[in-house]
Amino acid sequence: MAFEFKLPDVGEGLHEGRLVEWLVRAGDPIAVDQPFARVETDKAIVELPSPVSGSVQTLHFKPGDVIAVGQTMITFGDGGATAAALTAPVSGKSAVDAGKSPVSEMVAAVLSPGSAPPVMAAFPGRAVATPHTRSLARKLGVDLARVTPSGKGGRITDEDVISASAPSNQASAPPQPPPAPVAIPAASARPAPPPSPGVVAGMAGVGEEIEEVPLTHLRKVIAQAMSHSKHTSAHVTHVDEADVSELVAWYKKAKQRIEADGRTKFTILPIFMKAAVTALKAHPFLNAVFDEPNGKILLKKFYHLGIAVDTPEGLMVPVVKHVDRKDMVALAGELVDLAGRARERRVTLDELRGGTFTITNVGAIGGVFATPVIHQPEVAILGMHAIKDRPAVVDGQIVIRKMMYVSLSFDHRIVDGLEAARFMTDFVELIQNPDLLMMRLL
């Protein structure tokens, strides 16, 4: 009888480990407690000993692979007698966690809407909630049995209780911003998060002078992702300026043609996306991943652009795949669809994953330029700012032109300032000269 060995939590609260090497090969005999692999975790490199004797049947991973806790990493054969005596691993994750992607993708995973697992089967009828949530429900007079849970494992969260106490709040939700993808404010344009309860606790005037705003789940995820990024990458922002007068004229002409059918919606963003991809192909280090543990930089030969979308609950970044293989009209259609569904939180998990570079539109509300935060594990993020009439010097004359600031935040760990400047010069040239962009489009 085959025995499947699942990666246990060999530290305290680990989620994954990287396979360093196999100490056995398929077909090898194996003894109880004989080490069969070396795995690197956040804490140490550890040897894993076999719980059974018999032979090695299948190695499920290659050295270098990241294995999630709970995933089957090796199958032993002829180990039936010993294997049967084994109970489930003490720190084994639930079936829900098993086989999930590594932690780096978890952040994206929790953004996924509509995947709340069913109420814990062991307690049908009893609301699952923390003492704090119960106390909040008592205070607000909410019957927990009537609240629809949205938390992990069917748990009722504070937000669930609050929204249940004000059933009309759906109708009075703040008006949504216009759906045009061009008008997407970036994260930096959003208000600062509320002070943490720890800060407020003990302050006089809570309730009168200070209003407590509980964090939404999405806000927590954003907070985590932002501080993770700021603590990971060495952020530097390069700012440039582009004269897009010609591009805007060109776009307006094209827009009339394309939208003549009355159905298609054409925006300017796809043009910037194409220009960005064209520049990325010439500067591959900006479309990369820094694999620090292995001492490698991985240059990606595919171009999936994340597009920052402001939703009523916070920032989301759906990803447009294979931008280099699609025409601008198709991209425009995809953007309208993705941004719309992001605002309704109907994008799928897959549509939030796998970006290689991100564009954020910063100019809708105002400001000169902003310094966006890199979307991990990418290397750079491009901020597009408002197009405004500004004086410019052309052939020794001051003239009014359509001007735009563009900013690139990049990870100085693997991209130097010179390389970033070259990329931006290239990009600016492409959007200043639509003819050149046409010539270089693939």
Partner: protein
């Protein structure tokens, strides 16, 4: 007014077996062949238990585990002086002492599996649950030692801690209290050189931990903690001192934690490999085996047979561990209070009945 010396202190270090197993004849304790080989068996048992525990953890069959490797002589030396009516007040690394007094191994494994039943000792033993908050148990040991005096029981209390714990206030309060109130307590400090990643020299500017006894007016001694005969001899004196009502004392057993602090630690990040090699040459089990062999009490055949016997015993205990029925969630409420407070009683009831219909 004259300037007078009012106190002068001296602290001894006791070592009987050197690292090669050569004995100091003048200090050699008078022990029978059975006692000596019994000590050796105990140390090998501890090591086999420990090796298996590390494997069980890496296989996901128990949780985080703290290894005692390298400290077998320290634990066997004190345990050999104790009886079942003595109190053991452990930190979280005294598995060796516990099994020496007869606590079944599978219960110790159960504790490290996160099963509260591992803390329920057989009724004929006086072993407190492992105390994870560093040093907190020493205050209990002082109090128990005072209780033994008040009840005039000839039972001794041994409070265990590491070098790190001697930087805690609890250590000093406990020693002071035990000194003033003549508690029947032995404070047994295993100075294994490392409090997780903090070295011994960062714990105190004093030359030894043993000398701290002087400030509290109790006897103190430093022993080679990897020399089971020295630990035995020093412990014998301390235990007799307490049992006969003369009061508390302090033993510093100088040893070395050969492994990681726990399975969630990586000692390679902060220790010098040369340091480990130095201590490997002072392994307590190797040293004692050389001594037994030189006394013609032990052979390689004996050793192979003992290893096989202990491996089989450990495997048997693992089987017992894994045949324990899984604890039910409701037992969660059962071990903390003699009588549950109302709110926990409510929760327990909700847990136990209606909600799972």
């Amino acid at each position: 007014m004259p300037r007078q010396v009012i106190f002068e202190g001296r602290i001894e270090n006791l070592s009987i077996l050197d690292k090669d197993g050569q004995v100091d004849k003048k200090l050699e304790p008078k022990l029978t062949r059975d006692q000596l080989t019994g000590m050796y068996r105990l140390m090998v048992m501890m090591r086999k238990f420990d090796e298996k525990a590390l494997n069980l953890q890496r296989q996901g069959r128990i949780g985080t585990y703290g290894s005692l490797r390298g400290q077998e002589a320290a634990q066997a030396g004190i345990a050999f002086n104790l009886t079942k009516t003595d109190w053991v007040v452990p930190s979280f690394r005294e598995h060796g002492v516990m099994m020496a007094l007869g606590l079944p191994m599978h219960l110790i494994y159960a504790y490290w599996k996160g099963d509260e039943r591992g803390n329920i000792v057989p009724p004929d033993l006086r072993i407190l649950p492992a105390s994870v908050p560093v040093g907190s148990q020493l205050v209990h040991a002082a109090g128990l030692g005072m209780a033994m005096r008040l009840k005039d029981e000839p039972s001794v209390v041994v409070g265990f801690a590491g070098d790190g714990a001697t930087s805690e206030g609890d250590f000093h309060e406990a020693l002071n209290f035990a000194g003033v109130f003549n508690a029947r307590t032995v404070f047994f400090i295993q100075n294994n050189q490392w409090a997780i990643s903090v070295p011994r020299k960062r714990q105190t500017a004093a030359e030894s931990i043993a000398q701290k006894a002087l400030a509290y007016g109790i006897p103190g001694i430093q022993v080679d903690g990897n020399d089971v005969l020295a630990v035995y001899a020093a412990s014998k004196a301390a235990v007799e001192h307490a049992r006969s009502g003369k009061g508390a004392s302090l033993i510093e057993a100088v040893t070395y934690r050969m492994g990681d602090h726990t399975t969630a630690d990586d000692q390679k990040r902060y220790r010098d490999p040369d340091d480990i090699a130095y201590w490997l040459a002072r392994d307590p089990i190797d040293r004692f085996r050389k001594y037994l062999v030189s006394k013609k009490m032990w052979t390689d055949d004996n050793d192979a047979a003992l290893a096989a016997e202990m491996t089989a015993m450990v495997e048997d205990e693992v089987k017992k561990l894994e045949s324990m029925p899984a604890p039910t969630p409701v037992e969660f409420f059962d071990h903390m209070y003699e009588t549950l407070p109302w709110n926990l009683r409510e929760q327990r009831e909700a847990f136990a009945q209606g909600d799972r219909s």
